[in-house]
């Protein structure tokens, strides 16, 4: 058999076969966003993941989706995903009930640079559901607090009712050397927090360029403005990392659906140092 066919056989036989998991519980975060906790269907615990990675979740008879892992990277008994219900398969996923079977492949992809960030301030900038792939990094930093300087979390969402992980945001804000600020695009009179775009929160942050690593995840237009703001404040592009999203199908760099310039988002990403994708970032239809 030719080598290419052998490789194809290998990929088809192992990487593309989902492992069986069971839904342990489903937690409602907002009116359209839910957090699913999956447990292995057998006795073997999950193999672990690095913050920023994703899995392919398969709703049997419905479809398969790439979903970022939003749980604690040191909890191998569970695998946690935060999903916004926007289509047929995500709707089916968030409608799961405890005990339902979900197929899972992965974890896949690159991860946040938490080793590089050691000894530095970590600035986390999240927009909307973009906080979900960043939460494992926050869990990791809080578990290894002495390895990092300040933790700064800036979070923007559409409205107060779109903010996810609200209780955790409050809990993190009370921790020493941790600054957590949230803002919404539209707020009613009962909202006591900030109103305005997430870049407006930078005025409350004492940023130390060259001693900070920035981890950014949200809508691409938000990330562009965040990057411009950080560069204007003296942050070197090499210290900026972002999580990108494209139409992923196989999750292993095989099908080519998520090609981005010379990279595949699923295999080379989803986490990229900004300087690696700078020339393509923001380009129309790329």
């Amino acid at each position: 058999m030719p080598v290419a066919d052998l490789e194809r056989e290998q990929i088809t036989g192992s990487e593309m076969t989902p492992a069986l998991t069971r839904v342990a519980h489903v937690r409602k975060e907002t009116y359209d966003t839910f957090t699913l906790t999956l447990e292995p269907a057998g006795h073997e615990p999950f193999g672990g993941f690095s913050p920023g990675q994703f899995s392919m979740l398969y709703v049997y008879g419905n479809g398969e989706l790439p979903i970022s892992i939003s749980g604690d990277p040191e909890d191998h008994a569970r695998s946690v995903y935060t999903v916004r219900s926007v289509g047929k398969t995500t709707q089916a996923l968030v409608s799961s009930r405890p005990g339902d079977s979900i197929g899972m492949r992965g974890p896949y992809g690159s991860h946040w640079p938490l080793k590089i960030a050691r000894g530095k301030d970590v600035l986390i900038v999240a927009g909307g559901i973009g906080l979900a792939p960043l939460r494992p990094a926050i869990h990791y930093i809080l578990r290894h607090r002495a390895d990092y300087n300040r933790l700064i979390v800036l979070y923007g969402a559409r409205s107060p009712r779109d903010l996810i992980f609200r209780k955790q945001l409050d809990d993190w804000a009370r921790l020493p050397d941790t600054q957590v600020l949230s803002t919404v695009d539209y707020g009613g009179l009962s909202w006591r927090g900030h109103v305005g775009v997430v870049t407006g929160l930078f005025r409350f942050v004492r940023l130390q360029p060259f001693h900070t690593v920035a981890l950014i995840c949200g809508p691409e237009i938000m990330m562009r403005y965040v990057i411009w703001e950080l560069e204007a404040r003296g942050m070197p592009p090499g210290d900026l990392y972002l999580s990108l999203e494209r139409n992923m199908k196989c999750g292993i760099g095989f099908c080519g659906h998520c090609q981005y310039g010379s990279k595949f988002i699923c295999k080379d990403g989803p986490i990229f140092p900004y300087h690696q994708v700078r020339s393509w970032f923001g380009k129309y239809e790329l």
Binding site: D32, R84, V86, G127, G128, G156, A157, R158, D162, T183, D185, Y186, G187, G188, L189, W191, R192, G193, H194, V195, G196, V197, T199, G200, R203, F204, G218, P219, I221, M222, Y225
Partner: protein, 158 residues
């Protein structure tokens, strides 16, 4: 606050970064210290208020009334500016400003600011450049809010 303290306070304010010492002194001579209680309305929509404020502490919300509800457009805090329209010919306020916390600010009469700009073009250019930076930043933020970038379904032009 003594005149010297006012000068020092203004020198620290981000809006006045890059201003020459004599321009800051000129502004200090026009500045008056103001405090707003939590919940106090600083101005209302349609008011002929001509004051420009540099916020020192506290938090202010810019709001607009729509039928049946009040929409909060933006919140402003220490180091920011309120009432940039006071240096434009029309002083009629388009939004209402509400103090959300005890707020401490330096206030400047917009008419006096405009006269100062006419008398000293160098001062006027510096002030208007700083003002334009504020307006551009607010415009950019407003555009981003209008895009509704967190929406799960991207808006399409018809």
């Amino acid at each position: 606050m003594t005149p010297e303290n006012i000068v020092n306070t203004l020198r620290e304010h981000p809006f006045l970064q890059g201003f020459a010492a004599e321009h800051i002194e000129r502004l200090a001579a026009m500045a008056s210290e103001v405090n707003f209680r939590k919940g106090e309305m600083i101005f209302r929509e349609g008011d002929e208020s001509s004051f420009f404020y540099l916020l020192l502490t506290g938090k202010v919300a810019l709001e607009t009334n729509t039928p049946g509800r009040i929409v909060r457009i933006v919140t402003l805090g220490a180091g920011e500016e309120l009432g940039w329209s006071s240096v434009t010919p029309s002083h009629s306020k388009r939004f209402q400003a509400r103090s959300l916390e005890t707020t401490h600010a330096m206030a400047f009469d917009g008419v006096r600011l405009q006269h100062a700009c006419e008398e000293d073009c160098q001062f006027g250019y510096t002030l208007m450049t700083a003002m334009l930076r504020v307006v551009a930043q607010r415009l950019q933020s407003t555009r981003l809010q209008l895009i509704d970038m967190y929406s799960p379904v991207p808006a399409k032009a018809v």
